[in-house]
Symmetry: C2
């Protein structure tokens, strides 16, 4: 964990219970400055002593209340990081619907500013990757079971219709991936980043393929191996606790659902080489990942508290650094942005319904952190801030490709 | 037309009828060198005096015969350009099936070498664009009528099944484009590069939209306007004889089928700006273009004889220079490579069946030039050398996008 210069502000330490002096002209100037960054958002901004700024236009849909001066100043200093820090500590309160507020903010911002941040982002080597993954995915299977679907799929689902259930939509997503890949019995599949193993088991069970599924999360691998035993699929599905860089065996199909976000741009060429050395002459693959329309770093609060080392790329970056060097041919791209918004809505509702149980495992700050992460992610997808891409590709020279594409 | 340093070789001038001296050691060395560039191709190489090199492995599927020394040396000097020059002049003869030979060569080559050619490619300004387009598309509607489909669609068709007719496949392509774009009655469509007008008329007739269709080919525009009158669609379809850079009116939909190849990389940002200033807040668009898996210039013979100023981009180049600067969101990409191979097969067969009529309009060299262009293009698509991409996109902030994608 890096040293945080803002710790001196001690945002969390100033409880709203303490008697606070009234706001000064400087405090009100700071509030105006904060409002200006999201000036078209229909949000009321308030200070601890009741001072308020109404929205510049229209009626307020919600209020954001700063409960102390350090929280206020931390937003002036670095709003991208400290929105999250101050919200989760309780030093900022949202009065109204959190999702509505986050959507209003995303809509009001002009969009992420591209900047050459990769100049300083360090590579996720195998050790860093293990630490990053451990931070998030080893929080305990019991925790994830509280709000994920029955299959424990922690990636964007595919809702054949908007009113499908999450359970059905995760099955539909796995089947969509298998059909896009035209899996045939006996084929060898490599899965890089297999989560709790649901897709690997699904492919083996319903499409008759053999799967080597890689993951560096110890908890997830243990869970997946247990499922493979219970479902008598150990002869066709091997769960390997190892990094994607260790993939060496030949395969007909390379699939990776929700791992690219954790690879990081500096290691895309490595991923491309791994795919290239594994795929047969008629090999094909599918990458499913959170992406963007314009290159930009991930929100720093998300990187600090939720996904260390993560990055959501543009299609261009994936094509340039992963596929193009090996003449892999893009057959088909589908953007499932609204499906991820829907998936996150389901997760958030289930999470909120289990908040008491989550607080019992962790604490209230954890609940607030995850609520913000889930609502913020949902808002990012509903407002077009983030995308979800499925990219189907094949060897450039292979004509063993679908004549027409499938749809859901 | 640029000065050609190889004119001094006078490839065409040396008729095979002239008495030629026997081949020398130098000639045979040159032949070996040529063979080495496509060493795995099952092709026999022969000289004018009967000397031959069998394929390095396997049985020959065809023979390439050099009928004189200048043709031979021209291939050593610049095979990419002079294959076409020598073939069309008759100084090189292909004994066997032309398509088979071209496919064997494409498969044997390692792939186009990326190089920073754009440093010297000049921009296709409005005047150059007009000359380039005139060169190809104003060859006379009668000529194109001999081998295109009934609707005069000169872009990749969509074959719902491989045995569909070209006529049906061109209708299916137009309908596929309309359904991807979710056209609704009364919407305003801009079409950039409308050919003989078939898609503009189809959209107005079957989807009830109004269309402004741009094209700088005088012959095509005249033909299209005539069709609009005959089909009583002049109130809903306006054919504008002007450059895509002149598009200024607002539109719900921007569509361009087979024009991007003629825009050229230096002008992609301009095309992006034109789309951005035209599209409404809920605007969406579709680009249909010949592309590549890896960036490379178009074959120099094709640029000299067939498509001056043309360039087939990678998806990355289109995303980087056209869509990304304006936060346009990629919804859907489909690669129709095998459909273009099939389309070209249909065109080539019809062209060969009309060769006598084509020769009567032009001459035998023209017939050989176009036969090589059509067969070479077909081989480029069957071997994976070229791709055909349809890219559907929308404003990044618009949620008026399809919930699930359609397929053919």
């Amino acid at each position: 964990m890096k040293a945080d210069p803002l710790r001196i502000l001690d945002v969390a330490g100033c409880s709203s219970q303490m008697a606070l002096p009234g706001s000064t002209r400087l405090d009100r100037w700071a509030l105006t400055r904060i409002q200006r960054t999201v000036q078209s958002a229909p949000i009321r901004f308030m200070l601890w002593d009741g001072f308020e700024l109404p929205p510049r236009a229209g009626r307020a849909v919600a209020s954001i209340v700063f409960k102390n001066r350090p929280a206020l100043l931390s937003w002036v200093w670095d709003p991208e990081l400290n929105f999250g820090e101050a919200y989760t500590s309780g030093a900022v309160e949202v009065r109204g619907d959190l999702l509505t507020v986050l959507e209003a903010i995303y809509r009001a911002l002009a969009g992420p500013k591209p900047r050459p941040w990769w100049l300083w982002q360090k590579s996720n080597d195998a050790r860093a990757a293990r630490e990053n993954v451990h931070h998030h995915y080893d929080l305990g299977n019991e925790f994830y079971r509280l709000w994920l679907d029955r299959e424990m799929v922690y990636t964007c689902a595919y809702f054949p219709t908007p009113d499908a259930t999450l359970e059905d939509a995760q099955i539909a997503k796995m089947d969509l991936v298998c059909r896009k890949l035209q899996l045939k019995p006996g084929e060898r599949v490599i899965e890089a980043g297999c989560g709790w193993g649901s897709l690997a088991l699904f492919m083996a069970k319903h499409y008759g393929v053999t799967v080597r599924a890689f993951n560096i999360s110890a908890e997830q691998i243990a869970y997946a191996r247990n499922r493979a035993m219970e479902e008598r699929l150990v002869d066709r599905v091997e769960f390997v606790e190892d990094d994607y860089r260790s993939v060496r065996s030949a395969c007909d199909v390379f699939v990776s659902i929700g791992m690219l976000e954790h690879v990081g741009l500096p290691d895309y060429p490595t991923l491309g080489r791994v795919m290239d050395r594994s795929l047969t002459d008629h090999g094909r693959g599918l990458l499913h990942f959170i992406g963007r329309n314009q290159a930009a770093p991930l929100n720093p609060w998300i990187r600090k508290r939720i996904f260390p080392g993560a990055y959501a790329p543009t299609l261009r970056e994936v094509f340039e650094h992963v596929l193009e060097p090996h003449a892999l041919s893009v057959l088909d791209v589908e953007n499932l942005r609204l499906h991820y918004a829907k998936t996150l809505e389901c997760w958030r509702q289930r999470f909120d319904g289990s908040a008491h149980d989550v607080a019992a495992i962790f604490d209230d700050t954890f609940v607030r952190t995850w609520r913000l992460y889930l609502a913020g992610s949902e808002a990012a997808f509903t407002t077009g801030w983030m995308q979800l891409f499925q990219v189907l590709f094949a060897r450039g020279s292979s004509n063993a490709i679908p004549w027409t594409r499938i749809s859901g």
